[in-house]
């Protein structure tokens, strides 16, 4: 069963072999390292860029203008805040040229907390990303979805952001959620596509034959059904929500968990239908909570479903502080965790006017 990082690697292999990707690049993306999280090991079109995020985003735009499909990595989303203007630029090329030019590129970046990344390796990017018009934005929560969403980003004729939750990079597929064609045995897959420690100059990966599996941008996934409460999440917090939902079964609460997985476009139909059934909705993400994308979803809920709500819709998100402190206690208190999610769910499920 692949990890998310292996799934990304498999997708990138398919993309460079069959989908026309010409460049997979960024800081330490090429040999010898193959990416800070090993996501780009063994691929044939990878190369190391200068240490310059503006140059990385700029080159990706330029490649797109020249009709090349590229996947550019920014090593952590925390480092892209010097290039928001260039993202805005990428997002407006089609519109500003009144439809003449396209800017098809995929920018991939690890996001979020969960690896004790301290102040500046724990940021989320969903709030700023969704505030930049013209981008499609995906964020997987399982290896298979990483595979399918990344392929969809790559073939999309528009600029895409592919956000990878750092905390989920090493999480493995669940049975039934494999990528078709991957060897069932973890060790077997590792032997095929993980670079050895030490000297890698002679190593060649052996790629299993995996298909062009596209997960459509704009379609959510209902992870578990439930009648009492809708929970909409994505990224690191998604599996935590699922776990909390499972725990609440014993309390007699049935929570429906939706993985949004595509933040733009997003699957409003799925969210709406669920909220109409449950009358209660909790949005969960780990970006800081002021001017947060969950607030957009909540606003839309209120806008369209106000009179169908049985309780005020809620957002559970990160504390509005400048970063996440390194010490365990600090990280735990800064972003939603199992306990706080569970409590928020229970409170909302049981809240009465």
């Amino acid at each position: 069963m692949s990890t998310m990082v292996q799934a990304i690697r498999l997708a990138l292999h398919v993309a460079e072999e069959r989908l026309g990707v010409t460049d997979i690049f960024g800081e330490d993306v090429g040999p010898p390292l193959g990416g800070a999280f090993t996501a780009t090991q063994g691929l044939k079109t990878t190369w190391n860029s200068p240490l310059d995020e503006r140059g990385i985003v700029g080159a990706a735009i330029g490649l797109a203008l020249a009709g090349q499909r590229s996947v550019a990595e920014v090593q952590f989303c925390d480092y892209i805040f010097n290039s928001i203007d260039l993202l805005k630029q990428g997002g407006m090329i089609h519109w500003a040229s009144n439809g003449d030019w396209n800017c098809p590129m995929t920018i991939m970046m690890p996001v979020g907390s969960g690896i004790r990344g301290s102040i500046y390796h724990s940021h989320s990017f969903d709030a700023i990303a969704t505030h930049i018009p013209g981008f499609k934005i995906a964020i997987p929560s399982t290896p298979r979805e990483a595979y399918g969403l990344l392929l969809s980003c790559i073939v999309d004729p528009n600029p895409c952001l592919f956000l990878v939750p750092k905390a989920l990079m090493r999480v493995r597929s669940q049975p039934g959620e494999e990528i078709p064609g991957e060897p069932g045995d973890d060790k077997a897959l590792s032997r095929l596509i993980d670079a050895p420690l030490g000297d890698r100059s002679k190593w060649q990966p052996q790629w299993p034959d995996t298909p062009d599996l596209f997960i459509k941008l704009g379609e959510a996934r209902t992870v578990r059904p439930g009648r009492d409460l809708t929970v909409v999440s994505y990224g690191r917090t998604l599996p935590v929500c699922t776990r909390a939902a499972e725990e609440l079964v014993s309390e007699g609460v049935e929570v429906e968990v939706i993985d949004l997985r595509s933040l733009w476009p997003y699957d409003w139909a799925a969210v709406k239908a669920s909220v109409q059934r449950t009358g209660r909705v909790l949005f969960v993400n780990e970006d800081t909570e002021v001017t947060n994308f969950g607030e957009h979803l909540l606003r839309r809920t209120v806008d369209e479903l106000f009179y169908e709500l049985l309780a005020p819709p809620k957002l559970l998100a990160g504390a509005h502080i400048p970063g996440i402190g390194l010490a365990d206690n600090l990280e735990m208190a800064s972003v939603p965790q199992l306990a706080s999610i569970r409590t928020a769910m229970l409170d909302l499920a049981r809240s009465q006017p």
């Binding site: 026309g20 010409t22 460049d23 190369w47 190391n48 200068p50 310059d52 503006r54 140059g55 985003v57 700029g58 080159a59 990706a60 735009i61 330029g62 490649l63 797109a64 203008l65 020249a66 009709g67 090349q68 499909r69 203007d85 260039l86 630029q89 090329i93 089609h94 519109w95 500003a96 040229s97 009144n98 439809g99 003449d100 030019w101 396209n102 098809p104 018009p133 013209g134 499609k136 073939v155 004729p157 528009n158």
Partner: protein
Amino acid sequence: MSSGLRPVRSATEADLSAELLVRMHGLMLKARLLEERLIQMYKQGDGYFWIGGPGEEAFNVPLGLLIDKGSGPQHDYCHFHYRNSGTLLAMGAEPIDALRQMKNTATDPYSGGRNFVGHYSRREWNVVPVSSPIEVQYSIAPGTALAQKRAGGRGISIVTGGDAGTAEGDFATCLVWASRPANPLPLLIIVTNNHYGISTRSEGQHGETRISDRARAFNIESKTIDGNDPGVSYRELAAAMDYVRTERKPFMLEAVLSRLHGHSSASGANAVLDEADCLKGFERTMEERKLMTRAQMDTLRAEFTLELQEAHKKVRDEPQPTGDTIFDHVFSERDLVRGDQ
């Protein structure tokens, strides 16, 4: 065969044919009149904002003539800023289209009335959309050059911008990325130095003796030239382009030139009298060298003026974009990589 870091040799003055000089003069004159017409439109309320390149014709026209115009990596990619009207004209753009953008009509082929004048964009000619935030084109240009390096052939990327803007990190990014030993890029890096950023003189802000010295630090061949002389500009651009096309390596060209109507309409757009006027100078030369008479030039001027006047009238009656179109083209369904058109 590659000749390594051989110095770039430009042609001598004698190498420029009379025919070429006459052609350049015509384009420079037309470019100037176009800008003057645009300024007039602004002053008459036929547009909200003017910015453009009067004073840069001696450099921008040769640039346009030398560009290998077309679509895709075998042709040149153009990453321009807002003073390149003379270049577009020399490439063959219709002056009326600039007027359309000035008046933000729905017929404006560059942005459909969305963007300021001078913000060209034309995919069939590899002219990528001009950005108002300055200098970002220097971060983007290495991307098209990368594609061209891989494609082979003689297509190059060309990026232009002003002197003050080189203080932005993007300019350094361009130098770094163009000169990577792992993959030097066929990129012609141009800076038009008019010694001003809006109201700010360069002398207090720029410690470099020449901006082109910054390229030298990266072992990028570079040169500073008199951009007010169309002969010099043509020859130096031709030599620089030949180097970049052949060697598949970057070259930086700094052209010192004039800004004849101030920064933009924000600073009044009035004629400045204390800077050298390349058109006047060139017309004197043309007369002296007996390549054209004053009368011929006057006739030409009258012709172009009329043409632009007609165009202005025509554009006045063209429709504005409607409010319900604001959501058009946020996303594309068309896959250009796959070959959709």
